[in-house]
Symmetry: C2
Subunit: 268 residues, 2 copies
């Protein structure tokens, strides 16, 4: 395989751009294709069969674009449909957001209790529990579904009293427990980090998927001799299945107003 | 056409059940098929091309079930894709939620100013403005998109301080204007009526689509000699494209815990 081929990244919507931003920092010479399924977002409230069907369609789309690796920049799909995605991807390496984030998070806990918040599909899947337990039976996961967080971020409502009340309510059980690490188990949630911090216990460490996933991607590309290090003009392509204009507005929130490209609508 | 054939009702999700409840009261002998596209809800944040594509697919599904009339129990589709739905439906009568609601609302205003709240797609379409203006040039529409209301209802969060703050914010402009009627231009919104009433100006009349739409359906069936008046055991079928169990939970909220059937998952 040719190292100049693009990395493919997909998400149910544009939350995966938080991971993409970190990949761009860590691997600034790589060509990228991002695909956000904004015509069917959110995935996290849907059932597993539907999520698997949609995931396969996104994977096939990226494979047609001849990508050298696939990043599943979505916790819901990483939790529910990773094996289906890997099956469709064949020999192309697939990097999910859950395993690198968990590997990083367990190094940060002293109480061995990890809080995880995510969509309903992610928390119900038990994927975080399984991943954490595989690293040591002493670790305990306390998880909570926060299904309103994605629509709040998608509407740009990321601060203020109403969001604080909703967040405080969601985090009640985790705050009352013994967790000293809180994993933001959804790529939209970093936008709510200030609010989450405000309503969380003082000493809890908040961890999101972006940095550990980008690090893992770099490692996997290096192992496969697929790093593209000398490309001076990387090509960044961003596709969504609906609402490119609105997607760009929200994408700019993720990139401090400096989104590095345009967003095009595509059929999958 | 045979009057014993079912009435077909569709919506992007389960909000259309508020209209269905009113149809069941007014036409208790009719056979019904309800279809909610919960695998792709919400529609109101998507662009027109996507809404039209999805609408045609729902219409085709109901036509295959041999329905005698189609109720578009969704303001977004009534606003954006009614002509496409009618084209696909051919000779089958199609009843939307906007025209009957507007005809009813204009009889209730003294100031001739009507407030309309709905999804982004509905308010941007201008469909309410056009419909209201067709009934008299004296009428003025003040509209506001409330994109978080659908996720709040779908999560069952229909009361409390956080919802009140969000609702108060959305209704600020309408409250400061001269409207004496407020149309709930989305079939989910009746669930939020108590909150909306609480944060609205005291004398505003709140109007939803359910009753006017059921009345219009009855009239259209009568005109076409399609009323089914003697059927003692009406058959009620409820389909969704995802999450039948969760849909039933929320449906029960709409029916005061007495949902009149089961909900099955179907592919469209």
């Amino acid at each position: 395989m040719n190292s100049s081929l693009p990395i493919g990244i997909f998400d149910s919507g544009i939350g995966g751009l938080t991971v993409t931003a970190e990949i761009l920092k860590l691997l600034p010479n790589e060509n990228l294709i991002y695909l956000g399924d904004t015509a069917r977002v959110p995935y996290g409230t849907r059932d597993n069969e539907t999520i698997k069907k949609f995931s396969k369609e996104l994977t096939l789309f990226l494979l047609k674009q001849k990508v050298k690796a696939i990043v599943v920049a979505c916790n819901t799909m990483s939790a529910v449909s990773l094996s289906e995605i890997k099956e469709v991807a064949g020999k192309i390496p697939v990097i999910d957001v859950i395993s690198p984030t968990v590997e990083f998070a367990v190094t940060k806990t002293r109480t061995s209790v990890l809080g995880v918040i995510g969509t309903r599909a992610t928390t119900h899947s038990g994927a975080y529990q399984a991943q954490v337990r595989s690293l040591g039976s002493q670790f305990i996961v306390v998880s909570k579904a926060c299904p309103l967080f994605v629509p709040l971020v998608e509407e740009g409502l990321v601060s203020g009293k109403s969001v604080e009340i909703i967040a405080e309510n969601y985090l009640k059980d985790i705050n009352e427990g013994n967790a000293d690490v809180l994993i933001l188990g959804c790529t939209h949630y970093p936008m709510l980090a200030p609010v989450i911090k405000k309503v969380s216990r003082r000493r809890i460490k908040i961890i999101d998927s972006a940095f550990p996933t980008a690090e893992k991607l770099k490692k996997v590309l290096a192992e496969n001799k697929l790093l593209n290090l000398k490309n001076k003009k990387p090509k960044l392509i961003f596709y969504v299945t609906d609402n490119p204009e609105r997607s760009l507005q929200i994408a700019n929130l993720f990139f401090d107003g400096k989104f590095p490209g345009k967003i095009e609508k595509v059929k999958i």
